[in-house]
């Protein structure tokens, strides 16, 4: 399901003292089936951009095409089937645990599928499957979501979106506020979903995640698309104009390079790659 932004502008509170231009002439094509990272400093327009993908916001001018859905500034051009779009594009907001409201975990997860027209039984079935995917066993089904721990709540909320079975999954800072282990589990979960063919759009500030998981990276700056390339290309550049951090592995590799070790940084994605590169580069006796 290709996604295309053409000349998209978005202005918050137009014609008032609070006017704020959040998107400026965004032209962007996101390919199907990829793991895409969306990065940029706070207030660069990332959240506004992803809201357009779910027709939660309509462009002030320009248009966004998601598969066959057109989200245009012009009302007459805009597609009507918002529900269909939201079924295909799942959006997990930042701190999604704040959207839980049902008495039991399974009911909350089944809420989405039910809204999209499934019957009670079927919705519960999809809910159970989604809960299994995020790693919550059947003992959780009847518990209240409000008595769970922060990490478990987050998992329930993510399951709530997965149960809808979207073909594009957008996640906004899914690891914020999680302990390292829970964060790793969450990312492994998205990796797994991605390997089953779902397009993933990950909004994050963590460059280690970008390097490790993303195939494509989009850098936003002041409401504009500053860069759209692979993580390897991005981290090969000078990152200072975008106020992005260099991933730990890259920093380590560069330190090694300074001491004369020949390491090809463009192929690094994780600690294993680095270890392999060091082994290869190490002068044999």
């Amino acid at each position: 399901m290709p996604i295309n932004f053409s000349n998209v502008f978005y202005v918050y509170n137009p014609k008032s003292p609070f006017q704020y231009e959040a998107l400026r002439n965004v032209n962007l094509t996101l390919d199907e089936g990829k793991f895409i990272a969306l990065v940029g400093r706070t207030g660069s327009g990332k959240s506004t951009l992803i809201s357009h993908l779910n027709a939660l916001l309509h462009p002030t001018s320009g248009e966004v095409v998601i598969d066959d859905f057109i989200n245009a500034a012009d009302k007459r051009k805009r597609s009507r089937d918002v529900r269909g779009l939201r079924k295909k594009v799942g959006l997990v907001f930042q701190f999604p645990e704040y959207q839980l409201f049902e008495e039991t975990v399974e009911k909350d997860v089944a809420f989405g599928p039910k809204n999209f027209g499934l019957g009670n039984q079927e919705a519960l079935k999809q809910a159970h499957e989604a809960l299994q995917v995020v790693g919550l066993d059947p003992t959780f089904y009847e518990r209240s979501p409000f008595e769970l721990s922060g990490g478990e709540k987050r998992k329930v909320a993510i399951a709530g979106i997965l149960a809808i079975r979207p073909t594009v999954l957008i996640v906004d800072e899914p690891t914020a506020g999680l302990d390292p282990r829970a964060a790793e589990e969450t990312m492994a979960l998205f990796q797994k979903i991605h390997s089953e063919g779902t397009t993933i759009i990950l909004v994050t500030h963590d460059m280690n995640l970008v390097l490790h998981y993303a195939e494509d990276v989009v850098v936003m700056e002041n409401g504009e698309i500053a860069l759209h390339c692979t993580p390897g290309e991005l981290f090969g550049r000078d990152l200072s104009p975008y106020s992005l951090e260099v991933p730990d592995i890259y920093r380590f590799a560069r330190d090694l390079q300074r001491f004369g070790l020949k390491i090809d940084t463009s192929k690094l994605h994780g600690v294993e790659d680095l270890a392999l590169a060091i082994k290869e580069a190490y002068p044999h006796e």
């Binding site: 003292p17 939660l56 959207q99 839980l100 409201f101 809420f111 989405g112 809204n115 999209f116």
Partner: protein
């Protein structure tokens, strides 16, 4: 989402923005009294409503508020208008000064009923406009400072006016935050297929529940955190407090206060003296000349 809600502070630099909030509250109350003065004849009602309307429109313009936005606020009043009309039409009147409008099943309806409903409507509208001017030109914090100042006399008899003012300040402070929460939760639930705008009654009810429950949860968490944060910084409701921003009552504030009082006195005078419509008013003028 429309985050440009009614009654929100809009930063400009008009004289109304610069006015002392205590003076502004006083002027508002005094002008409201003026607007609510009863007059005997319809002509007089029309004239005085016209005067008040012009005055308030002038203030609106001065505070950079758009008249269009205000008119849209009247949209929410239409139910009230219908209700008022029904009440006034169904109330039998013995003394009527206007002709018969129509006769319905032996029940005579005079134009008085419509005029009465119209009068109430105009009063309500003017009152809403006045309070909107106050909230649009005064920062919520200044407003609570002013309220606290007005509550000072109660302090002498042991009324916890500071606590009340602090509660109001916090409530006002968190309106935008909670609106943001509403916005965020609505977006999240919309992504899960909730339709907040269309749908049957049952579906709408569920939609509202899916908004209200998370909103309550996050509000309780927020208030808990806020209370802890305040206590950590040594907040003591009984302590004597100083203020970073001092309120200054300038001679201009005095001038506006006097002017507003003057206008109110004029209205009260006209109301009490019972001018009998246009004729006597002109009569009076010729007498004066």
């Amino acid at each position: 989402m429309n985050s440009f809600a009614m009654g929100r502070y809009i930063p400009y630099h008009s004289f109304l923005h610069k006015m002392d909030p205590r003076a502004k509250i006083f002027c508002l109350i005094v002008l409201m009294v003026a607007v609510f003065m009863p007059f005997v004849s319809w002509q007089m009602v029309a004239v005085m409503a016209g005067v008040a309307f012009l005055l308030i429109s002038g203030l609106l313009l001065a505070s950079h508020m758009s008249i269009l936005q205000l008119l849209s606020s009247l949209k929410s009043l239409w139910l009230m208008i219908v209700f008022l009309l029904i009440i006034y039409i169904l109330t039998p009147r013995s003394n009527h000064s206007l002709p018969v409008a129509f006769v319905m099943w032996n029940y005579t309806v005079y134009w008085d009923s419509f005029a009465e409903a119209g009068r109430i409507l105009i009063r309500l509208m003017l009152m809403i406009e006045l309070s909107l001017i106050l909230t649009a030109t005064t920062k919520p914090l200044d407003l609570t400072f002013a309220l606290e100042w007005y509550l000072t006399p109660l302090k002498w008899i042991g009324f916890p006016s500071h606590v009340v003012a602090m509660t109001i300040t916090l409530a006002l402070r968190f309106i935008p935050t909670i609106l943001e929460d509403v916005n965020r939760i609505m977006k999240a639930q919309s992504s899960r297929g909730v339709d907040f705008e269309h749908g049957k009654l049952g579906a709408k009810f569920r939609a509202v529940i899916s908004l209200i429950v998370p909103l309550f949860v996050s509000s309780f968490i927020r208030s808990d955190e806020l209370a802890n944060a305040m206590e950590c910084r040594g907040y003591d409701p009984k302590a004597k407090r100083t203020r970073y921003r001092q309120l200054h009552f300038s001679w201009l504030d005095l001038l506006w206060t006097l002017l507003a009082s003057g206008i109110a006195v004029l209205f009260i005078y006209v109301s009490v003296v019972h001018f009998d419509g246009f004729v006597s008013w002109f009569h009076l003028e010729t007498n004066l000349v």
